[in-house]
């Protein structure tokens, strides 16, 4: 049971089954995008079930994981919701605690995607030696009252707890919430 909860914390079942449904839909209409989506989901799941056992993983792998996640989320988007994801800087075998960034990106998709409202999600990762900066910026286009808000709070608290344990005094988190726009800046000293 503990292991199931552990897994759930890393792969949201809603995300998993919606993604499977999207892939199923792609195969049903024999879309050319389907094979790539299957590979991305396989890689994402493999990362979660194998790499996450480790205390630290290569930063490049963690970012690959995020890239897979973002690509799969892209399947959900309508033309009203735009997305940019950029990584700047050089990888030099830096290490990072696994699955520490994904929470912030998940939330951007959770609250920043709505086929009824124009919105933008902008994810930037900057690597400068051992300094990592993640900036996630998104419009808030989902009614935060009705959505599973408590699960978000819990997720954020868990993520903060992990940061406190793994990077004590070595991280900075800034959240700017205007009600319509959410910007979250996370800086971590990976050394």
């Amino acid at each position: 049971m503990a292991e199931v909860n552990y897994l759930k914390a890393k792969v949201n079942p809603h995300f998993l089954f919606n993604t499977l449904n999207n892939i199923y839909s792609l195969t049903l209409v024999k879309s050319e995008v389907a094979p790539d989506a299957v590979l991305r989901l396989s890689n994402l799941m493999r990362y979660v079930v194998t790499e996450c056992e480790n205390k630290k993983v290569l930063l490049s792998k963690e970012l690959e994981h995020i890239e897979n996640f973002v690509a799969l989320q892209k399947l959900r988007l309508s033309e009203k919701n735009t997305l940019s994801f950029t990584v700047n800087g050089t990888f030099k075998n830096q290490l990072i605690a696994p699955i520490i960034l994904i929470n912030y990106i998940e939330n951007a998709f959770k609250y920043g995607v709505n086929p009824e409202t124009m919105s933008e999600i902008d994810i930037k990762v900057q690597i400068n030696g051992n300094d990592l900066t993640l900036i996630v910026k998104n419009h808030i286009v989902v009614n935060r009252g009705t959505s599973a808000n408590s699960s978000t709070k819990e997720g954020m608290q868990n993520s903060l707890k992990r940061l406190d344990i793994l990077y004590p005094n070595k991280y900075k988190l800034k959240v700017d919430d205007t009600g319509t726009m959410y910007t979250c800046t996370l800086q971590i000293d990976l050394s």
Binding site: F17, N18, L20, N21, N22, Y24, S25, V29, E116, S147
Partner: protein, 229 residues
Amino acid sequence: MIKAIALDDEPLALAVIETYSKTLADIHLAKTFTSQNDALSYLEANDIDLIFLDIEMPKSNGIEFCTGLNKNIKVVFTTAYGQYAVDGFNLNATDYLLKPYSLERFNLSIEKVRKEIELENKAKVQKTHLAIRADYKIHNIPLSDILFIEALDDYIKIHLCNQTKIVARHTMKGILKKLPSQEFQRIHRSYIVALQAIRTLGKDCIELKEHTLPLSPNFKENLLRNFNV
């Protein structure tokens, strides 16, 4: 022919329903929506038998959406994850599909919808009387005799046109289900009215020949749909 629409915030999920619906001769999937607002305005202007409804949506979830729907519309919930199953059935959803689902499973849902519609059609044809137990008798009341029904805690009082009143142990919700929805409607927490008995409709009250009943804003919009002014 069953006229259906589908609402889901994920376009690919709608593609599955479109593909499946094409394989069935008696399902006409009139339109699909990613926008709840668009679906609502469509529903206001069109008669629909069935809606496929996603549960996890950005504006309000499918269950909230469903509570605002005309009771005659059959609902099949679709969702990727099971936590809402119980709520779905509490709202009298016809079925509940877990994504991804097969064509066979989809067909089962449609079969349930067909059966429900068939049963209702039969009931509609036959329904001229309301049978209800009160003071150790079963009363067989002609529907055309009923003016309105009043709630009294655990009881209801049925007011008939000949001044008779029948008090029975029943809930408002339960009695509403036994009445044809095109002839009787809830107008207030404590009142159900026979549409044909209404003489005037005011801002917050309804006048019958000899009674004035309160009209609650919650039910007003639904009631107004019956009167094309």
